[in-house]
């Protein structure tokens, strides 16, 4: 009788432990929705205006951890040949050896090394590999929104911004002093898995 009582308490304790563990939200995995995600670039044209373009093919996933946001992370792969600056001959030039050399380096990747949360936003640090060169970059991340979509899924979206120096990755084709850096904008929407 006494034994049964003890084991009941043990069971209840274990149950409460288990219960509290499940109350602690698990990290959420998101697959990037390629049709609602955009990688845009902006580069000075001679210092007079801007040239805007984007990469049309990307894939990847991110992890959102509500209880430990500093472990949030994202991995993105971009097909460099999918560059689109709204001008076929220019895109061809951009895919060539002067710029992305897509035959030799078909993908560019970003991998997270750390995340510094500031509320729902934060500073994302990671490594950008492009043209075979891996360099650290910092992306300013702004949370946009999250919630159920109308079709039974759960989505979460962010915008990231950073500026990189092309020559750090060996892209040195001379476009003038105003065009040594490129602004990048990542509009990323994920579907929870």
């Amino acid at each position: 009788m006494r034994r049964t009582y003890r084991s009941l308490i043990a069971l209840a304790l274990a149950g409460s432990l288990f219960g509290s563990a499940s109350a602690l939200a698990a990290p959420e995995n998101y697959r990037i929705d390629e049709t609602h995600s955009f990688i845009n670039f902006s580069i000075s044209h001679l210092g007079f205006s801007y040239l805007k373009g984007r990469f049309n093919e990307l894939s990847g996933s991110f992890v959102y951890d509500p209880d430990n946001p500093s472990s949030n992370s994202i991995t993105v792969e971009v097909k460099t040949a999918s560059i689109d600056s709204n001008h076929a001959e220019r895109d061809k030039h951009l895919r060539g050896k002067d710029f992305f050399n897509v035959n030799k380096y078909p993908v560019a990747t970003f991998k997270t090394t750390s995340f510094e949360p500031k509320g729902e936003d934060g500073i994302l640090k990671g490594e950008l590999t492009m043209l075979g060169v891996t360099k650290p970059i910092e992306v300013e991340v702004t949370f946009v929104g999250a919630g159920k979509d109308p079709w039974g899924g759960y989505r979460r979206g962010y915008v990231g911004k950073t500026t990189i120096k092309r020559s750090d990755w060996g892209m040195t084709y001379d476009l003038g002093p105003a065009a040594e850096t490129v602004d990048l904008e990542f509009v990323i929407e994920g579907i929870r898995e």
């Binding site: 689109d84 001008h87 076929a88 001959e89």
Partner: protein, 179 residues
């Protein structure tokens, strides 16, 4: 005088031949040069524009040339020419014609891959006839590149063959076109 005879090319055929010869050399040089120019070169825009414009002229010329062969005849092969020489000449000329047809087509399809027209000397525009197609500039560009260099080798072979006729065979083949 206008038409070819069994032993010499007529004036029209000569004008078409030498006009095309000049154009092909100019287009080859301009095409190569266009890919070598740096962004800040004052000629960065002019050279490709000129290449595209002259390319359209070459396209018109090859159409006229093909039409002209419906009307005109070709001079006979040199009397001493063997069967294989006649066949080799025919194959070489055939390949040259193929290049002259496919080069402007591939160039035009490349330049109009985003649906934009090709400007001819800034005077008028040739519109994009096919709908814009992402990525078409890549395979047409590749084709244009290999046809351009392949065609250049064929031209050298053509010149070498003409010189062979003149200085080794010592027949009248070259004189049919210049004499």
């Amino acid at each position: 005088m206008w038409m070819s005879t069994p032993d010499r090319y007529g004036l029209v055929a000569r004008l078409l031949h030498w006009g095309m010869a000049l154009l092909l050399v100019a287009l080859f040089v301009l095409g190569w040069w266009a890919t070598e120019l740096s962004y800040y070169d004052p000629l960065y825009r002019i050279i490709p524009d000129l290449h595209r414009s002259l390319g359209i002229v070459a396209a018109v010329l090859i159409v006229l040339r093909l039409l002209w062969w419906l009307v005109d005849r070709r001079p006979d092969p040199a009397p001493g020419a063997s069967r294989w020489m006649v066949l080799a000449a025919r194959a070489g000329h055939g390949l040259l014609y193929l290049c002259m047809i496919l080069l402007p087509i591939s160039g035009y399809l490349m330049s109009t891959a985003d649906g934009r027209p090709v400007s001819v000397f800034g005077l008028f525009e040739v519109p994009a006839l096919l709908p814009a197609s992402s990525g078409r500039e890549e395979w047409t560009g590749m084709l244009h590149y290999y046809l351009g260099y392949g065609g250049a080798w064929l031209v050298l072979l053509h010149v070498a063959a003409a010189l062979k006729h003149q200085f080794i065979d010592r027949d009248d083949t070259l004189r049919k076109m210049i004499g």
